[in-house]
Every structure is written in C-alpha cells, then in structure tokens.
Point group: C2
Chain length 183, copies 2
C-alpha cells in the first residue's frame, strides 16, 4: 500500500479547494427527481464571487429537478482529490446575468449559453464543502458548514463570502458514506 501524505490542515484544504474551484472548468452535478430518481451529469462552471455559475438547457432533467427547489450536490473532478459541495441553486434568465460574469463564463467554459435561447443560468451558493484525498483525511473533511468557511480565507476575491477565522476541524459525527476510496 502506498505511503500516505500526512493529512492537510483545514486551512490548507480551504486554500486547495479555492484554487481548484477557480482553475477547474467542469464538475459533476447530482440532482434527484421528485420520485427519488438520481441524476448525474457533467456541466461547465465558473467560480465567481463565492458562487458556482453554471448553465444548461431548460429542457434538461437537471433543471426540472432543481426547479422543484431541492438541493444540489456538486463534485469537482477527481476521486482521489475529492471536493464535494452541497448548495442551493438560484435560476437566472439567460439574458439577465451580469454581462461581465457571462463573458467570463463563456471564456472559461468555451461556450456561451447566451447563444442558445433555451439556456438558463444556474447559480449555486455552497452551504457545505468537504474535501479529502486519502482515508487519513476523512477526519476534518468538512471545510465549509452553514455557508461559512471553517478556516480563514485570503481576501483575493475567490472567497468573499467567507466569514472565516474559526479554524475548527469539522467533524459532524454524521455517518457519511465510505467504501474504501483511498484506503
């Protein structure tokens, strides 16, 4: 079995998660139908102002599921560098998003939702974020709770929503899934 790196501190994990949120282009979007059927698709996103800006067609199951007002669960790429995000989604009509943000999305994602009249913006506000690489990072995997980062966030514009400063190590006692990833 490979030797594991020592677990990162909460502050390191927050810094790493913010760097990935800013750099990555795509993420997994998990939603559920009213009947309890899971749905999972990749979408491109832009990290802006502490929110995850996505877009897709109004005709998709993802939009149908989220229009019910349910939560969303998002994951960045990578099963050995997990960044799992729970959030709430607000809809913004395709012509109504701030022009500069829409331009930034188009440049980042490589397509412009404004070119498709069936598109809608989905703006997710993270409420809870967990991140871990290997099994030894499962303790302390929570780095945002109730919309607040659990360690200070530098004022570089990527984490403006943060109150920060608590520096706790998470740990809700919740029985999260764990099936050996990273053991």
């Amino acid at each position: 079995m490979p030797r594991l790196d020592p677990p990162r501190s909460t502050a390191e994990r927050v810094r790493d998660a913010l760097a990935r949120l800013a750099a990555d282009i795509d993420l997994w979007v998990a939603t559920a139908s009213a009947e309890g059927e899971p749905y999972l698709v990749p979408l491109s996103y832009l990290w802006h102002g502490g929110r995850i800006v996505m877009a897709t067609s109004e005709r998709t199951a993802t939009v149908r599921n989220l229009r019910r007002g349910g939560p969303v669960r998002l994951a960045l790429d990578g099963l050995r560098d997990v960044v799992l995000i729970d959030g709430d989604v607000a809809f913004v009509a395709v012509g109504d998003l701030d022009q500069a943000v829409a331009d930034a999305y188009a440049a980042h994602a490589g397509w412009d939702p404004r070119a498709d009249a069936t598109s809608t913006w989905l703006v997710a506000t993270p409420t809870r974020i967990r991140t871990w690489r290997e099994v030894n990072e499962l303790p302390g995997r929570e780095i945002m709770r109730g919309g607040e980062w659990l360690a200070p966030v530098a004022g570089d514009g990527t984490g403006e929503r943060s109150a920060g400063g608590r520096g706790t190590d998470g740990g809700t006692g919740e029985s999260d899934d764990w099936g050996g990833t990273g053991a």
Copy 2:
C-alpha cells in the same frame, strides 16, 4: 479552442469503456432519498462478470437510498472522458459473496469489507451506459441500452453479459443534459 479528435465509433467506445471499467478503482455513486434529495459519494469497485461490485456500510445514506429499490447512476472518474452508467443494485450480505470475488475486490480496492461487520456488498448490473470525451462525441454516446452492448464485445471475460453485434450508433432522442462540457 483545441482541435478535437474525431469521434470514436461505438465499437471503440465499448472497448475503451470496458478497459476503463477493468482498470479503474473508484467511481462516483449517485443515489436519491425518497424525498428527492441527491446523494453523491465515491466508492471503490471491482468490475467482475459484467457487474460492478461495490461495498459500503449499512449505515450510509447510499445504502438507505438503494434499499428503497431505486436505480443508481454511476460515473467513472474524469469529466473529459465521461463513462456514465445506469444500473440496478442487488444487495449481498458481507459473508455471502463468492470468496474469490471478495478476495479480488480486496486486492483491487485495497480494503476488505469483510473486516467490517456493518459492510454490505452492492452489486450493480448496468442497464445503460453512455460515454463521450468532447462535444463531438455526444451523438452516439449510448453504448449499452436495456443491458445490451450496442457493439460486439470480445470474449475476454469482461463483457460476458453482452449479446453484442448490433453495432448501432445509439441516439435516443432524449433530452440529456449538456452544459458545455467539452465545447
């Protein structure tokens, strides 16, 4: 924008998907609660006999959600080499799985669920698989439908369930999600 490779044929995609199913260790597991709340976690798996063998604790939300009898949606790692799998899950008590398969799982995944009495095996039978790399591969992304591969599968033991041979190019006309990943 980077130049795209030409889209793969159905046969190539089947071959690539089988190779990844055999080689990868972890996947994303999307389920939903009865109340329509999405759930998404990484689990380790073993591809065996045309099925995806996973394990996790009975105490997890994933097991709770699947015990309802609902479907599961799985995804291999990688947002630019998407392998999306819909399937049905059967539960096997932790001591009841064939010993050789359990041993193979433990060797592949790096942990042995039999060491934890709360574990259960989850054995997923794929019913539908879609795979694509970039936007030009969205047409023809379906490579398994109704549990049958849509191109012949070599008899190497990884695709024994296949009837194969139809070689169609998929395309259900369903409005799948597409939000710019790969444009």
